[in-house]
Symmetry: C4
Subunit: 303 residues, 4 copies
Amino acid sequence: MANFKGHALPGTFFLIGGLWWAVKYSLYYATRKNRNLGCLASKAVLRRLEIFEGSVMLSFSLIGMLAEQFVPDGPQLRLYDYGSHKWDHLMNWQHATMYLFFGLAGATSLAVHLTDIAPQALDRMLLGIALFIEGRHCSYKVLSMLPNAVSAFSHGTPTISVGFLFLYHLHGRDMLDVHVHQLLLYATFGGALTTFLEIFHRGNILLELLRATLATLQGTWFWQIGFVLYPPAGMAEWNLSDHNNMTFITMCYCWHFCFSLFAIAGVYGIVSWVVRSRLKRTPTMEMGLLKTMEREQESEDEL
Amino acid sequence: MANFKGHALPGTFFLIGGLWWAVKYSLYYATRKNRNLGCLASKAVLRRLEIFEGSVMLSFSLIGMLAEQFVPDGPQLRLYDYGSHKWDHLMNWQHATMYLFFGLAGATSLAVHLTDIAPQALDRMLLGIALFIEGRHCSYKVLSMLPNAVSAFSHGTPTISVGFLFLYHLHGRDMLDVHVHQLLLYATFGGALTTFLEIFHRGNILLELLRATLATLQGTWFWQIGFVLYPPAGMAEWNLSDHNNMTFITMCYCWHFCFSLFAIAGVYGIVSWVVRSRLKRTPTMEMGLLKTMEREQESEDEL
Amino acid sequence: MANFKGHALPGTFFLIGGLWWAVKYSLYYATRKNRNLGCLASKAVLRRLEIFEGSVMLSFSLIGMLAEQFVPDGPQLRLYDYGSHKWDHLMNWQHATMYLFFGLAGATSLAVHLTDIAPQALDRMLLGIALFIEGRHCSYKVLSMLPNAVSAFSHGTPTISVGFLFLYHLHGRDMLDVHVHQLLLYATFGGALTTFLEIFHRGNILLELLRATLATLQGTWFWQIGFVLYPPAGMAEWNLSDHNNMTFITMCYCWHFCFSLFAIAGVYGIVSWVVRSRLKRTPTMEMGLLKTMEREQESEDEL
Amino acid sequence: MANFKGHALPGTFFLIGGLWWAVKYSLYYATRKNRNLGCLASKAVLRRLEIFEGSVMLSFSLIGMLAEQFVPDGPQLRLYDYGSHKWDHLMNWQHATMYLFFGLAGATSLAVHLTDIAPQALDRMLLGIALFIEGRHCSYKVLSMLPNAVSAFSHGTPTISVGFLFLYHLHGRDMLDVHVHQLLLYATFGGALTTFLEIFHRGNILLELLRATLATLQGTWFWQIGFVLYPPAGMAEWNLSDHNNMTFITMCYCWHFCFSLFAIAGVYGIVSWVVRSRLKRTPTMEMGLLKTMEREQESEDEL
């Protein structure tokens, strides 16, 4: 879905997901620090949050998969066109595959928090795999764009895309297109790396907030890509082969990152403040009773 | 052995190995979680499993080395042809070298679990080295294929293969050939990295299951390579220079990964369920006696 | 600001910063090792040092941002020139963006040490991000220089800059220019990596001193770049396309690194010696009283 | 010193160093496991071993630096030839710089084990830096060889050397020369990485033995390079542009690695066996006395 909507939709999902994670982990961290407010966000409540998150992720992925298959110009579950002996609607199938892995991550999250059979950090591993596969798909897309750009280039000199240092020998229309997708890779692979690190450093608030930041960054950047490549009617077109635009868009990415950092910091601050102010109002005696109830619950969880 | 069998055989080995690891580590994890069933899978039993695994790996490697040397068109231990002043059957020697390192890993596993002289995680280090050398051989093979492809290319522009981001300027027959082997590298180097991480995070069930998953993925992918490059009689030939086929095969790799995840999850679930159901049937009193015996054994092991 | 001053100024900042870090962390380490001299550098004193550092970093960044905007030939907060339909003074905006992230790191440091709401290692994460963005900007600048160099090259063969292994096919004036900036990347990305590692290994004196060393190296190297590319009047010009100069400058970088190591080692030695000699002169009894006061303070901090 | 001796000498140093490390760390590990033989290899003895190692490394480096400067055709401390306005004997200066960093590592080892002022793992950090700089010099040398090779190549297509995946478009004499040096990089950078990891996992016997293995591998490979590129009189010349030779030499590298593994395993086995057999012969009572003496020493060390 190479149009404005096709970038705005995943952007919205990632934006919501990033902010949601910021709320969840801030709440979790604040309650860990202030142990004596079991009533506000006990382990049982947090488990329910996780189950809610897993269900939402799973259902969104299912909807996404079905949408990619059954949109009017979709493949309708047909993969091979026996008439023309060609693969059919491969792009929709690719997107459905990506959704499939996010769906797996959601299902794993449910399995981890509903049953006690799956090992603890398994949900992070699957989420990391899903982000890695998204990043790979995105980088593959960038690379498959390059030959066209190159063939338009006078001497047939190849453009080489290596790690995250990229050469910009690209000429013509594709230059900015490739560049905005390459910038996206920082957020995607950065998120995958952060999530994998969480397997070994579970409960590290910094990694959790960094993941939330990078998800938010991905979200806003998807919107930016939509505006740059497919400007809605009435907005100025971008000159996709202007080198200055490329320099600007690189800087713009830093501002998006800066905005994401502020957004997550704001959410963290508000949640921390709410938890504290509620803590002060709760009478101490009543809490004593709640605490004993909670403690049993928690010691069960920890076993 | 660039034919169907030459890919199906290692594929079968890796497939069996991956599923075996899934069984072993699930069993180990389930018994660690349910400490009070020493009789089912004590440390002594697990040690015997490890010794069995090491012996199988060692003997398979020996058989592999001998087969590579003494097949009808093999080198019969001759490395240099003094007649033509050329190296003789280098490919067989390379494969034998790879088997050698897997053999070393098997022998190390035996040394670690039979004697008490070798340090604990040494078997993982050797396994990681063996996988790394397999990956290197594979990537070297990919790279040695490139010049041919490039020389067929009009302007002499080189094709660059960097990290895991690859450019697809390849034209002609080799394109898909190179691509399916490059995809294999994810599983190989991913497995090597996972195994090296296990040196520092020994007993981490997630790393162990991820290793099993990547081994299974390698196994099924070797079969896929066989079917794509050397389709058995009666099956449709693949158009090796069709760009759509390359896109499809990339997606197909994700499905193989997905299948491997399900297979390992299935094995894990079955083993966990069997351990639990056995646990319930074992009378508690009898177990008390067994536990004291086991505990002595284990405390010896841990020293 | 592509002139001598434009390199000397950040050089001076990094040089001061590196030496300051060496003093701070040596002091911190020496007092941790000699617990019984609370009066010299208690946690309260160290917190004040951190707050001072954060304020200086924040104010320097603000000054830098304002300077980049309001220098005579600066953009004066104007980003887009509606007359010529072009981005305006993009380089100044880029530099201001870099200052912005160092400012964020300073502000975070203040937030961490003034309030008790922000998680502990957050200042390191922001500092790592700021260094990473500086390195990215620097590598992007290097890459944007390449096309010019390449277009001057006979066959249009691209120059490839990959990770930290670089090919030197560059001809003409830019060769040394690109090379000295590439060498800078070791210090920048090395510093970013070190700082990120400190998130997981907080208080590791080796990482802290390595960070100080790499900051000092960056500082002296910025000065070296200034002298090489924009030699002040009266000094010999460098032949920017001589291959021998490039070999020399690579070796020179090692000497700068060696000098930085000696400088940090010297600072560490002096601080350790001062702390020890003061320790001996302090009467033990008086200290006993101070210690009890300090201990309360510290146990509060640790909570 | 691009001749047979110039490769045989560092080869011998690394070979001796690797085997020495194997002896030292095996001894250390064996005595840690068998705590009750303090008399054989106490911490005091091990400290003396470290000091001996540091002194040898420092003096060898000094000799190396002096030799590079004062060999008949050396620079005699002259860096710039004011007559021809050229840098003088840059290669000797480069080698002296490399020796300098190994000398620093030796001096640091002395500082760590003679005084109690330097932090513990500092010697590993400096050793890691020295190996990293050696690797960088080596990779730089490989890259500076490439343009010559490329200019001999018909279409001016560049050869790209990326990470450790290399393309072999090189034609003519340099192909094997570049390849054998590239293979060396595995051992060098692998050793640097292992040494850096030891900062965080100090005393991990596997990392220590891996470092010893990689040093031994470097040693034997330096000899191999000497034999391939500068065959002594009477030996067959290698055809440096034969692709089969390159395939063979890659496999040969695996055999060197295999040999190194066996050598280190042999040393480890012998040391373990000697320590055990001595342990059995030592009367228990006498040891009781020695142990108390040792224990005090050790508790001092640990503080």
